[in-house]
């Protein structure tokens, strides 16, 4: 049996009450932390041993209610699940505890999640189906059909992926990874009939899946291993599968890779931009292109390198393609 060890840790904790404070501040608390504690124990001790006005959300203490999400040194965690030992090993003995979103902080760790719920609602996260009120038999779902959800149904709406997403940080319209995972969860449900409606919502430019920056922050932070970016890719695939992909710059950008590979094996960078943007849209890239050309960073079309054994690649593209645009 391993023995319980103790370390002195300094916590810098985000304190802010929107009703009384002009600006937020970071307050320091030093305490002895044992190897058995989790982050939620620290939040409790700050409230019980230092300042009874310290506010945070907590409920189940079993990693299922999703209430206690916070950030420690920028890492999004469920406070009740995250062991202090792991955090100390990763970041050392000076730790900063903050709410998941500073700009949405209401009081200390508590944030206003209205944006999260609005975006969640927007993707219609419920079963859309004409229900026979007097069915003759149960509507059975086989284990294989249930597996198609790819565990998207394990989401506990803690908001960690949403508030770790850089695209949301910069773009208030972006639905975000949790909403997309929810959209996929119902699109993948064999009983559901709302796939096309949902695809039209999540394919909106500026808000939908095409504005994902592909950073994998959502996959990394999710405490339930929902892997939202995998679901974002699935929604992209469904857009083509159901003929719902709009003919715009983002969609052509994805399709352009297939064109280029078929022709050269490698990507023709210049042609990809031209095909994606169109002959007019590409003009806005000319100033940067000129700077790059002067530094020998643009390959002209007649010098475009090709993969060896290009015939092999062409054949594989021909026989392995599963969708058309």
């Amino acid at each position: 049996m391993t023995s319980i060890t103790t370390q002195t840790i300094t916590f810098k904790v985000f304190r802010f009450n929107t009703e009384t404070d002009y600006l937020p501040a970071y307050k320091e608390y030093r305490m002895e932390v044992t190897s058995e504690e989790v982050v939620l124990d620290i939040l409790n001790r700050i409230k019980w041993e230092f300042d009874g006005s310290f506010s945070y959300r907590r409920s189940c203490r079993h990693g299922i209610c999703g209430a206690c999400a916070v950030k420690v040194n920028g890492k999004g965690v469920l406070a009740c699940k995250e062991r202090m030992n792991d955090i100390i090993e990763l970041f050392g003995n000076e730790l900063t505890i903050e709410p998941v979103s500073i700009k949405r902080a209401v009081k200390d760790m508590i944030v206003d999640k209205a944006d999260f719920w609005q975006k969640h609602d927007a993707v219609k996260p419920y079963l859309i189906s004409d229900i026979d009120e007097h069915p003759k038999q149960e509507s059975l779902v086989t284990p294989e059909q249930a597996e198609a959800l790819l565990e998207a149904d394990l989401c506990i709406q803690c908001g960690l992926c949403h508030y770790s997403c850089p695209a949301i940080e910069e773009n208030d319209d972006f639905f975000g990874p949790a909403a997309f995972a929810a959209a996929y969860r119902f699109n993948a449900d064999v009983r559901d009939e709302g796939t096309l409606e949902r695809l039209d919502v999540v394919n909106q430019m500026g808000a939908g899946v095409w504005d994902c920056v592909k950073c994998f922050e959502c996959a990394e932070v999710c405490p339930k291993e929902v892997n939202p970016i995998e679901k974002i890719t699935k929604l992209h695939n469904q857009a083509f599968e159901f003929g719902r992909a709009p003919n715009n710059v983002a969609v052509r950008h994805a399709v352009g890779f297939a064109h280029s590979i078929k022709k050269h094996g490698l990507l023709d960078e210049g042609e990809l931009v031209r095909y994606s943007e169109g002959n007019l849209g590409v003009l806005k890239h000319v100033p940067v292109a000129i700077k790059m050309y002067k530094k020998g960073k643009i390959v002209l079309p007649w010098n475009m390198p090709k993969s060896d054994k290009l015939d092999e690649i062409k054949k594989l593209v021909k026989i392995s393609s599963t969708v058309k645009f």
Binding site: G74, T233, I313, S320
Partner: protein, 288 residues
């Protein structure tokens, strides 16, 4: 030590918009005595976009690239974060799903290939650190970069998702910092070093992309970095060539020299400016 030998998957960018990255990769490999056999048959990895259109096609093409490392009996080394992730993700999916692997191999058989899964895939950064060793690098440094504050920019696809990455913790990566220190430089700590540069949303979401680039450069500048270094040519393109948009997006001039990890190492090992292709930068690097 036995001479290190790898199958090099160059990716497309090193052949086109970042020729300096390929030049400096070979220059550094030469200095270190690492043998690189270029996978001239390889196709584009799809850059995280092809799989949005046709996931199965992307798997087949990436599996084919791995086949050519396997047929040479070598570990595949990548020099682009996104190539690394796409290839490693393909390997992970095929190695853990027999029926998917069989479907992919059915297609590959038509061109006389078979994906087996017996080649490892690693980024050149980790090959240098884990296989070659930082202690040996330190011994070989002839021009320590001691007068420079250098900001590491890791790039997403070499650190996330962590189960497919090379061993760094994505919330506190250290590999590139360690390489800077081994080269004699001062590593700069700043908040954006493990964040997204915005490259993959450049065309679709230009405002988001420019803000992310601007914040990364701003973060490094505010911690007194002289220049930035990255293991990813896509991050490099974004940070080196897009400073105008980035500056506009964050409301201040954020232009800063950005070097490839190979160029930084090459400078410390005594490679020449020409060997490292330092004339191919848009943001001035004449400080070298």
């Amino acid at each position: 030590m036995e001479k290190l030998k790898y199958a090099l998957f160059t990716g497309c960018t090193a052949k086109e918009s970042t020729p300096e990255q390929l030049m400096s990769t070979y220059a550094v490999a030469d200095k270190l005595g690492i043998e690189l056999i270029e996978l001239t048959e390889a196709s584009c990895c799809g850059a995280s976009h092809l799989q949005d259109y046709d996931d199965f096609l992307s798997l087949v093409l990436n599996a084919r690239n791995i086949c050519y490392a396997e047929s040479r009996g070598l570990t595949m080394v990548t020099i682009c974060n996104t190539c690394q992730l796409n290839t490693a993700m393909t390997k992970h999916r095929l190695d853990n799903n027999e029926s998917l692997k069989a479907r992919v191999n059915e297609k590959l058989a038509e061109v006389g290939l078979e994906y087996k899964g017996d080649s490892e895939i690693t980024h050149f950064l980790y090959a240098i650190i884990d296989d070659f060793g930082l202690d040996k690098i330190k011994e070989m440094v002839v021009k320590p970069l001691s007068q420079f504050n250098i900001a590491p920019f890791y790039g997403c696809h070499n650190i996330r998702p962590s189960e497919l990455a090379g061993g760094d913790n994505p919330y506190n990566p250290t590999s590139l910092d360690d390489l800077i220190i081994a080269c004699g430089g001062e590593n700069v700590d700043y908040e954006e070093k493990n964040k997204c540069c915005g490259f993959h949303a450049e065309l679709q979401s230009p405002n988001t992309a420019a803000r992310l680039t601007g914040k990364a450069l701003m973060g490094a500048l505010d911690q007194n970095a002289d220049w930035m270094v990255t293991p990813c040519p896509l991050c490099h393109l974004k940070l080196d060539t897009q400073y105008d948009h980035a500056s506009h997006a964050v409301g201040r001039d954020v232009k800063m020299p950005v070097l490839h990890m190979q160029q930084m190492l090459g400078l410390a090992l005594g490679c020449t400016v020409d060997e490292l292709g330092l004339k191919h930068h848009v943001s001035d690097v004449t400080f070298i």
